[in-house]
Amino acid sequence: MNIEVLRDVQESIMADANEIRASLDQRGIRMFNLMGGDGCGKTRMLERLLPTIAERVRCAVLEGDITTTLDAERISKANVPVIQLQTDGCCHLEPSLIRKGLDKLPLDELDVIIVENVGNLVCPAEFDIGEHHRIGMLSVTEGHDKPLKYPLLFGQADAIVISKMDLLEYTNFDLDQCTRNIRTVNKKAPIFEDSAEWHFDPSFLDWVSVKRATCA
């Protein structure tokens, strides 16, 4: 015989994520979940973003990787608190690991936390980690088809960054097609263009600041 259940598979993860969000809300902290493929330039963007954003808000970073502390070492040079989260082989971050990272941060002295998820376009998008906003990232060297091939990540993003724009002329990346592909899965998210060789796009900084202000 059958017993009706009708329970969401991720209910316990969502409960943990909601608890994290509520505790951050109480402290007036906004958390951003930065997701993108391995090598798309997430850490490089943070290295450039952090010194500038630190002039506007008090910021910290949780660095998610399967192993090593290499990314945390890079980020620490920006003089913001950073905690390396090692998943020991797991392909994504979950709320339980985020909580361990948050326990090590000076939460009373923070306005914004940026979580750099494990480099992967599939699994991280499946898990709510207690963030307030999701940022999806893809680079021109990965191809303009990525939003269609990974619709969950790009469909749920609150902002999308296209990186390595300085390499555009060396690839067959079609920026207009990429924008159309993004709009097929995501009608609303603002799209920001970036390059490690450029000055940081102030409109992206404004977006982060406005999102931060919505909880202040």
């Binding site: 015989m1 059958n2 017993i3 009706e4 259940v5 009708l6 329970r7 969401d8 598979v9 991720q10 209910e11 316990s12 993860i13 797991c90 392909c91 994504h92 979950e94 599939v122 699994c123 998008a125 499946e126 898990f127 269609l148 990974y150 619709p151 969950l152 469909g155 159309r180 592909n181 097929t184 899965v185 009608k187």
Partner: protein, 120 residues
Amino acid sequence: MHEFSVARSICNIAIEEARRHCVERVTGICVEVGVMRQVVPELLRTAFDIAAKETILQGAKLEIHDVPVTIKCHDCGQFAASATLQVQCVHCGSTNIEINGGNELMVSSIRVAEEVGHEH
């Protein structure tokens, strides 16, 4: 390979429900999986078999039901349900479409061999 995390959560829910109904062996679990969830059925079954070992779920059959997405075309105005993720309108070929639904990931029921006892 997030299928292992998904399988672990499915097992936790199924075991909880079985205990709540005083059931000692589960023979099947039905899950609804939306097209957008990027869950690979074969991997989920393998992960489930591993997670279910030495529990009351061992040997249970995992039945995976796909939940389609709904596609609305902004050019011709027609709707279509699709069991795979489409990037074009199936009626007019336009890419000016809106994809809705397909985010389900739910344990819908468990199947048990015996009569259900009293709930705790």
